[in-house]
Amino acid sequence: MRIRAVSALAADNVRQNRLFFLAAFLGATAGAAVLLFFLSLHVGVQENVVKRFFRDLPETRLKVSAADLDFGLFGLVRPGFLKGSVLDDDLRNAIRERPGVLRVYAEDTVRFPIRITGSLFGRSAASDLVATGLAPEILAEDLQKPDRFQVKEGGPLPAVVSRRLLDLYNGAFAPMNGFPKMKEGSLLGFRFDLVLGKSYLGGRAERGRVRRVQCELVGFSDKAVAVGVTLPLETVRAWNREFAEESESYSALYADLQVPEQVSALRSWLEAKGYHVQTAKDGAARQASEAVNALTGLFLAISVLILGLSALNLAFLLALMVHRRAPEIGLWRAMGATRGEMAVLVLLEAGIVGAAGGVLGSILGVLGGLGLERLLSSFAIGESFSPEALFAFPPWIFALTFGLVLSATLLGAFFPALMAAKTDPVQALRSRSA
């Protein structure tokens, strides 16, 4: 196979018959553009929306909470009701001993009335609050300045919030109250007060001394409670001892394992003991992801249909061209070309069209995505909901788009290539001579 000669000839042919190839090129371009557009949308939504807003546990982590007692239709749920479902240090140590467990960390929830007050852009605000406690060493890995999540004598209490809270603020609270939107960086150092032992809905705690504690926002973490404030674990534990009756158990335990395959064994072990276990498989992210998959899958199917039609279009065009160029094929055969080289010639011509269409289509797909993002930017409902996050362009989607477009065009060129290979040079040259 003289691939160099065939390639040069294919390039010549495409150049000379560019108008003829234009329709096929446009089809491949459209297919590539639509495919890349929806692929990038699919990946972007999955990566930046589903995974961010429907965050599940990592594959190697499970969350243990006290078993619920569900009264069916009444939907009454009471945590920690069953015997043996207490999350305490004994259980924490027992989990730590299980095979594959790297670490176990605890989360505790503030179990008494608490509210938050502060001044936002010159206006006072106050609200009841959900607060949790996490060990500093667990949150440290998410913070830019890990040492700031430490309790310091005389200083404000460090607090961490979830990024989703920021999104809620930017998306709903700020527009409703006429406040400007805020970014993570600008919020670091923001100070507010917690009123311990008193809330609007919960009233006053039966125990403990109602007081104000000043807090300072030191970072954002996805481990923080979704809508609320996360504080150092020992501080919350101390408050619970002061304000609540039961104070030895945790609200949840998290176990990190070495590999995802070990999760199910630990889960079975814990469930047999009456605990409620949540893993990556149970989360909302998975359900949201499946919904997104179904929707984007439909669009991807449309893209593939366009590609299929473009391949069919190319097949007709190339078949017509092979018929028209029979004398030329006869000439190449007379000059020493093999049947295989004639087939490869047609495939290469299709490949050139497919490759060019794939590249241009990919560029158009990216531009389309970026254009739509720009268009949607005025509808942004929060930093994390920003349309910039709707499209993602990892290298593999370019490779996949290019590969699919090229495959489609080559598939379309298959039968015309066979026609070229079977062209009888004698008949072809005779028809020219006649």
């Binding site: 000669a5 040069a8 000439l331 190449w332 000059m335 020493g336 093999t338 001579s433």
Partner: protein, 236 residues
């Protein structure tokens, strides 16, 4: 061994509407239809310059196509330059065309979008010795088209096109030139020029088989064959 050895060559074409072979597919030489070459046998030595006469439709072009490896659908034994064509595959036949044989047809086909020079360069890509532009210019000079290198086919006369076809056929330095009525459309002077070029190829050691009705061509040939009723014979 002769340069060309043909033994009992049979070639038939199906009549219109008639099945082309026993298997209903491609075997057109199986005896069905119109027999063009019938138990034809002859041989040619290397460096022969042979004219092939015959009436229109006598099978001259068919014989040239078979000898040049363009048509592999025949019965009998045909050997060219040591290659047995009857059992050869596409690769061997293509190798023969690209390495050993050069064709010049009565109405040669050229790529209209390429000039004379590029028609030689591009067409020789599939030959065993692809011609670069320098060699293509030399070939054009040899056939008297030095000043027409950048003319396009539709800017050349019939004689010039025939000479261009000859230059193209010689680009891969073939041992054998097969020519089908090369002077059929040419005036006297142009035809004589072409014959001179063929003679030069012959003097350089080449072998030629020219299907022709033209006595001027025949006069330049050392040997004359006549194809009649599907068989071949020596002409006086």
């Amino acid at each position: 061994m002769p340069f060309i050895q043909v033994e009992n060559l049979v070639k038939s074409y199906p009549r219109r509407g008639e099945p082309s072979g026993a298997d209903g597919r491609t075997n057109r030489s199986a005896g069905l239809g119109q027999t063009v070459l019938n138990e034809l046998s002859f041989s040619m030595e290397s460096n022969e310059f042979t004219a092939l006469f015959g009436a229109s439709g006598s099978g001259k072009s068919t014989l040239l196509h078979i000898l040049g490896g363009l048509d592999g659908d025949f019965q009998g034994r045909v050997t060219v330059d040591g290659l047995e064509l009857s059992g050869a595959g596409d690769r061997e036949l293509s190798g023969l065309r690209g390495h050993t044989v050069g064709f010049v047809l009565q109405s040669p086909f050229f790529l209209s979008y390429l000039d004379a020079l590029q028609n030689i360069v591009r067409a020789s890509r599939f030959g065993s010795r692809p011609a670069d532009e320098t060699r293509a210019r030399t070939l054009l000079e040899d056939v008297g088209l030095k000043d027409f290198a950048h003319r396009f086919p539709d800017e050349l006369s019939g004689g010039q096109l025939q000479r261009l076809a000859l230059a193209r056929a010689m680009a891969s330095e073939p041992k054998l030139l097969l020519l089908d009525e090369p002077t059929g459309n040419l005036d006297l002077e142009t035809a004589e020029n072409l014959v001179r070029l063929l003679s030069r190829f012959h003097e350089a050691g080449g072998t030629l088989l020219v299907a022709t009705h033209d006595e001027r061509v025949a006069r330049a040939c050392r040997r004359r064959l006549v194809l009649q009723d599907g068989r071949i014979g020596e002409a006086l």
